[in-house]
């Protein structure tokens, strides 16, 4: 029982808020059983189908070595952009976030917590993707730490974009936009089809998309065993550095 309600207000340190927020968001993500199932199964199905040579031919001598990095990029984009945007959009619609807006929690910490929770979910996804990839004969190359860095940067970039969409548009518009952009980036953003297949004029523009930088970077590391290019790292970094602060700036609680 509480013996006194004498006021002693104050905000907690941001690090403590961030740890608690991330942990809560992650537990809520996992609690949504069907969603977790889909999140885990869809990339594995796509991995299986893109690995079949019936869709289109690839330049890679070993198809699986091209497909696994693509699927990792796809998983990051799906979870951090589409999943986060739709989930957050509906939280706004149903006034979940309005209540948080009346607490000491800053918007930036809420958004960072959501992004970190997605990163934790992706770690699980990537373990499954890699395991399935190995089962199909995947032989990765390169330094895995580069891949970790690319995934983290990609998550912040896509998470920021997803939260920007969710925090400024209506939930129904967010739902449509997040799916449409996902589809466009899948095919025109260097994930399902290498940008080398596009005319060079198109490539000059498309290479600056976050999906292209993430996908190209992951292929450089995992398929070819190189370090990611400064161009890809910088592209992702700029998207991340712009999108998350922009989301924190314009995000509306309700």
């Amino acid at each position: 029982m509480i013996t006194s309600f004498a006021p002693t207000p104050g905000a907690a340190p941001r690090s403590r808020m961030l740890a608690a927020q991330t942990s809560m968001e992650f537990r809520l993500l996992l609690r949504n059983g069907e969603q977790v199932g889909l999140t885990l199964v869809i990339p594995l199905l796509l991995l299986f189908f893109f690995n079949l040579p019936l869709l289109y031919s690839l330049d890679s001598p070993r198809r699986i070595d091209f497909v696994v990095p693509s699927i990792i990029a796809l998983a990051v984009m799906s979870a951090a952009f589409t999943g986060l945007a739709i989930g957050t959009g509906f939280e706004r619609k149903y006034a979940v976030l309005k209540r948080l807006g009346a607490t000491a929690l800053p918007r930036s910490v809420l958004l960072a917590g959501k992004t970190l929770a997605v990163l934790l979910l992706e770690a699980i996804q990537i373990v499954f993707i890699c395991a399935f990839g190995f089962a199909l004969g995947w032989r990765p190359d390169g330094d895995p730490l580069w891949a970790v860095l690319l995934v983290a940067l990609g998550t912040v970039a896509f998470g920021g974009l997803g939260l920007l969409v969710a925090g400024t548009l209506r939930a129904e518009v967010t739902l449509a936009a997040a799916n449409l952009i996902w589809l466009i980036l899948l095919f025109a953003g260097g994930i399902a089809i290498p940008l080398s297949r596009y005319p060079s004029a198109a490539r000059q523009v498309l290479q600056y998309l976050p999906s292209a930088a993430l996908s190209h970077g992951l292929h450089q590391v995992l398929e070819l065993g190189n370090a990611p290019s400064t161009h890809d790292l910088l592209t992702l970094f700029v998207w991340a550095a712009v999108a998350l602060p922009a989301a924190a700036r314009w995000f509306k609680w309700e």
Binding site: P7, A102, T103
Partner: protein, 311 residues
């Protein structure tokens, strides 16, 4: 600190319109520190709009709002940790979280939070700590919402219809809680359309209708003024007033302002009361809720707005 303690809330000439239709229309409030103010009014009177402006959710069209001496929007970062909020209509926040999880999350935002388990126990929810928020009953959600408002040890709490959806026992429990807050120096602004709630809890009652203050004062002040020489009672509607007046001392008057509610005015004396009750007995009518010289807040409200409230 200034010599004069800063008001917990000071609202001056507040206006807010939605689509050209005024919701709040020149409203002023003053809440001294450590006191309880009840905003009383029917649905649509502007209570929630007012409180959400004070909470920083909405921007006023005109007038000024100072919460603990600060601006609710410009100074939100400094203000939010010091203010506890209970929104209208359910808990808000993550409804698939368990009750204790949500309370722990909110505790993590505060520098010196209450122990979440102890606070949950205090609002009578220890048994449902592991229940998902969305599976709690309406009254349980309200109590969790109260706990969420208090977990950061705020100086000021805004409680928007704190007992809506509660059974009578839980309401009394919540009243007891609000009295403890006041005793411990927490300032409280609550909205209600329950008259007894305002009457029991508030140091100041502000009656609003159509976005304006129609009356303000202590419950005693509001119910006393203009009440000399009046007897009020309830009985079956449609009593013959002429017959009643004829039975009373000369100069007495009788009216039925609402069906079944009677108002007798005149020089209140033991004789008047005796004659009134004798007449009722002769008619086979039981005079219920008979009060002398004291209006209920509901009477005040009816006189001011011509509209009924829930008791």
């Amino acid at each position: 600190m200034s010599a004069v303690a800063t008001a917990a809330l000071e609202v001056r000439d507040l206006t807010k319109a939605y689509g050209g239709k005024p919701a709040v229309d020149g409203l002023s409030l003053l809440v001294p520190p450590g006191s309880v103010l009840a905003l009383l009014g029917p649905n649509g009177a502007g209570k929630t709009t007012t409180i959400e402006i004070c909470e920083g959710f909405r921007r006023p069209d005109g007038g000024s709002v100072r919460v603990l001496g600060l601006d609710p929007i410009a100074d939100a970062t400094a203000l939010r940790p010091r203010v506890g909020v209970m929104l209208q209509g359910g808990v808000g926040g993550y409804t698939s979280a368990k009750a204790i999880e949500l309370l722990r999350l909110f505790a993590s935002y505060a520098a010196h939070p209450h122990d979440p388990a102890a606070l949950l126990d205090s609002v009578g929810l220890a048994d449902v700590a592991q229940t998902q928020v969305k599976r709690l009953s309406g009254g349980q959600q309200q109590r969790l919402s109260l706990a969420l408002a208090l977990v950061g040890r705020p100086e000021l709490v805004f409680l928007d219809e704190p007992t809506a959806g509660m059974d009578p026992q839980a309401r009394r429990g919540t009243w007891e809680f609000i009295r403890r807050l006041r005793a411990d120096g927490v300032s409280v602004v609550l909205t209600t359309h329950f008259l007894d709630e305002a009457e029991h809890l508030a140091d100041t009652v502000v009656v609003i209708d159509a976005g304006r203050v129609v009356a303000a004062g202590t419950p005693a002040e509001l119910t006393r003024s203009g009440a000399e020489g009046q007897i009020r009672f309830r009985a079956t509607p449609g009593l013959l007033l002429a017959s009643l007046v004829a039975a009373l001392p000369a100069g007495s008057q009788a009216t039925e302002p609402e069906p079944g509610r009677y108002l007798v005015s005149g020089e209140v004396s033991p004789q008047l009361l005796a004659m009134l009750t004798a007449w009722c007995a002769g008619q086979g009518v039981l005079a219920d809720d008979l009060t002398i010289g004291r209006r209920s807040l509901e009477d005040v409200f009816l006189e001011l707005t011509g509209r009924g409230l829930r008791t």
